[in-house]
Amino acid sequence: MNRATQLGVMFCALFAASTLAQDSDYSQASHGGVGIFQTPTARMAPSGNFSLNYNDLDEYRFWSASIQLFPWLETTVRYTDVRTRLYSPYPEFSGDQTLKDKGIDVKLRLWQESYYLPQVSVGWRDFGGTGFFESEYIAASKRVGPFDLHLGMGWGYLGSGGNISNPFCELSDGYCQRPGGFSGRGGMIDYQRFYKGPASVFAGLEYQTPWEPLRLKVEYEGNNYTKDRARGIVQDSNINYGLVYSYDSLDFHLSYQRGNTLAFGVSVGSNFNTIKTPKFDRPPPEVNAAGLSAKRFKRSTLRNQLYYRAGFVTTGIKLDGEELIIRGQQQAFREFDVSIERVGRVLANFAPDKVSRYRIILEELEMPITEVVLQADEFRTYARYESLDQPVSSVYVRQTPAMDDIDWQFTTLNHGFGYSFEPFWMQMLGNPEAFFMYQGGILSSLSYQFSEPWSATGVIKTTLLENFDKFNFKVDTQNSTLPRVRTFSREYVTRSYVTLDKLFLNYRERLQKDVYAQAYGGYLETMFAGVGGEVLYRPLDSRFAIGADINYVRQRDYNSEYKLFDYSVVTGFVSLYWEPEFFDDSLITISAGRYLAKDVGVNIDVGRRFDSGIIVGAYAALSNASADEYGEGSFTKGFYVKIPFDLMSFKSAKGMGQIPWIPLARDGGQMLKRPVYLHGVTSEREKPRKYYK
């Protein structure tokens, strides 16, 4: 079942905040991704470009999202509505809904255009699964003034017209026929079919008119529509032509395809590297020539100023001779240097003048994560612009906080209640009952801090709007040999309008300078309850971290807020976190261990962070559960977009919301959703990041 939990409003905000027009050089094809109409080109959008596209071609409607992850890598996900066929022949199952199909495309740039050579890219369209439009291609593009010329060769759907002989067929007979069907239970990459069967050349021409918003396009395609899933498509011509009109961040497409079909579409674009929201923060305070006299120094004033002018919640202050130590949490400014500069400016104005050194200990969940040391005179010179063009990082030293206990002279209460509210949004695409199903509401969190290392947290989920009443089945009818650890998800989300999502105790501690640990127990997530623990080794500013978690959990009863089913499992993973130098701003997480359904395997997660802080990632779980045991989809895989709250607010903010897209989730390769992840908690240990480089 497709399950996607997210804060839906973020998606709208993403485009509302966009200030960038679409790049007029390149436009999206009907299937999504840079191209003409039916055919792709070798062109790539600028790095970080994101397009949401809708195209209507009579028999088909395409919804797609295309992201330029790297300058050399374009990825596209797509849902296709086949309007000439029903979702299933069973009205009691899917009503009169038409057939839906999802697909994923990838395009890789092999080399860039130069004076004599064209740009060349290779791509795979709709690979894996049932692959209505499964194709492989190579394409070349060369620009001459306002004209962009394209030539390509395709196999599969793009080459089904067979207007040339397949060159690989000349080398081996095995390439002359394209095998049918799909491996496993769908959802796998059927590379054994690649470059086999009929092949076609395709070509295109784009013309940038003197009127900048208007672009004309024409293509010669190599597809033969007789085998299309839509059935009965008549092709009167191989030539398609049309235009693209750009207005702000919108591209409007109008085309005449197959010699008989008028098609139209719209793309809305943004760029994850440059997307930005104007900020109306109070300016950083100007720094006085001197701090306060010892007599005028007040810790409460300092604490208040740190909160209001620097977004820093102070939990401890110690004045020790010429050294002032503060500890706390930055809650407003996500960029490390901005945070330190603001805190430093407040300290320079409100700390006693005799202090020569400030130590700022940054905490998360009451654990010291990193420490910054500022020499008071040096910082004052910097902050009063008496030094030349130095970044703030030149006047501070980042270090690992010492393990020694500090005898704080001022602390906030180390016990008490805390609460928070945040919206949630859950959506499912491509369901038999309705294409788009949703549920939204509020997650209300109440926590109690017993003493520094202990806390209790409860989260109540309140549903405010949904259309889950359209569900006409809960558990699917597939025979599952694996324990049903996730396929009861419809039962859980429809249990009640108000449900207990989590209720757990948490203990955490820094064991060594670079080692953090936590233990937890209770209702840990929507579907499981139990106990567990995690240890993380994460040196300061390192590209590597390693952690391990172990949990004993039982499945929660979806008929009750508190009861448990009999099914229990010991699950846990050893995880390696790696930010490789050769992939800019990427985090690779490799976790090996035992999943909830007792299958054993490796989970690989790759996340790419853009200059705005948006993270786009994908993961796959490869376990010893076979494709047959797993069921439809063959293995667990998914995608996500994490959006900083800072992009959705006119005030600076920390934190992120996540929009997942899980094509099909079943029971194999499923990890426990632990309530707290130490790698996230210790994120200030990564090298300070500069946004919008």
């Binding site: 255009e113 130069s114 060369k142 612009y385 030349l388």
Partner: protein, 245 residues
């Protein structure tokens, strides 16, 4: 008398010692050297410029004398001279690279202070009004010149243009690029602080309009600078950033 001499000697020595501890701030403002006895704010230094209302402020810059920057220039020149030796004698590319090296040897470089220099801004924005302390500073703020400066692999070092007109970057490349120039790309700048890559060939032409006072650098091609041409051209641009005109 001896005692008086000894006492006066003591005071003279003390005074000279005190004086030597005081710092002289040297600021070369458009070629004229000013010496200040104490650190001076940029806005105060700018007040020595005559007719600030006529200055082309986007082109203005502040530099600090730096041995490191001079060494970078020497290292780059050595690298270019080594590359020159690899080129065939009598070739036009060799002559063009030699011309550029000769031009480079004659320019003054100093570390550019990463700061927009503007008369009113310095007076009203604290961040744009740093304190100039120890060292020799070069402050450049001149009137707009009726030309676009051409640098690198060029046949001419300036293209005359009236103050109220514009010229396309690719046209300048077409008219003034030397044989040694890269045939696809150029770099333009207003102040020299930031350089922007621009396509100028049939396949990547961008409409970049340059006004009087701008600069255009034509990079040397890989046939002149070899496989490291990209890196060397970037080093040249870094040096041009620190060029005190």
């Amino acid at each position: 008398m001896r005692l008086l001499k000894a006492v006066s000697s003591f005071f003279i020595i003390s005074l000279s010692a005190f004086n030597s501890a005081a710092v002289d701030i040297n600021v070369d403002i458009n070629g004229k050297l000013y010496v200040f006895n104490e650190p001076i704010k940029l806005a105060d230094a700018l007040s020595h410029i005559e007719h600030p209302e006529l200055v082309y402020w986007p082109d203005a810059g502040l530099f600090l004398a730096s041995e490191q920057t001079v060494q970078q220039k020497h290292a780059l020149m050595t690298r270019l001279i080594n590359q020159l030796a690899l080129l065939p004698a009598q070739s036009s590319e060799k002559a063009q690279l030699a011309d550029f090296i000769a031009w480079l040897s004659g320019i003054r470089v100093a570390r550019r202070i990463d700061l927009p220099v503007e008369f009113e801004r310095a007076r009203h924005v604290r961040k744009s009004n740093p304190l100039l302390q120890e060292g020799l500073f070069y402050l450049r703020a001149s009137y707009v010149q009726p030309q676009v400066l051409l640098l690198g692999a060029v046949t001419k070092y300036q293209a005359d243009i009236s103050a109220d007109s514009i010229v396309q970057a690719h046209e300048l490349h077409h008219n003034f690029a030397a044989d040694a120039a890269d045939n696809s790309w150029a770099y333009w700048s207003v102040s020299g602080a930031e350089w922007h890559k621009v396509g100028i060939a049939y396949w990547n032409k961008q409409q970049v309009e340059l006004a009087a006072g701008a600069m255009l650098y034509f990079p040397f091609s890989s046939s002149v600078l070899g496989g490291d041409s990209e890196e060397i051209n970037q080093q040249i641009l870094m040096l041009l950033r620190n060029w005190v005109r």
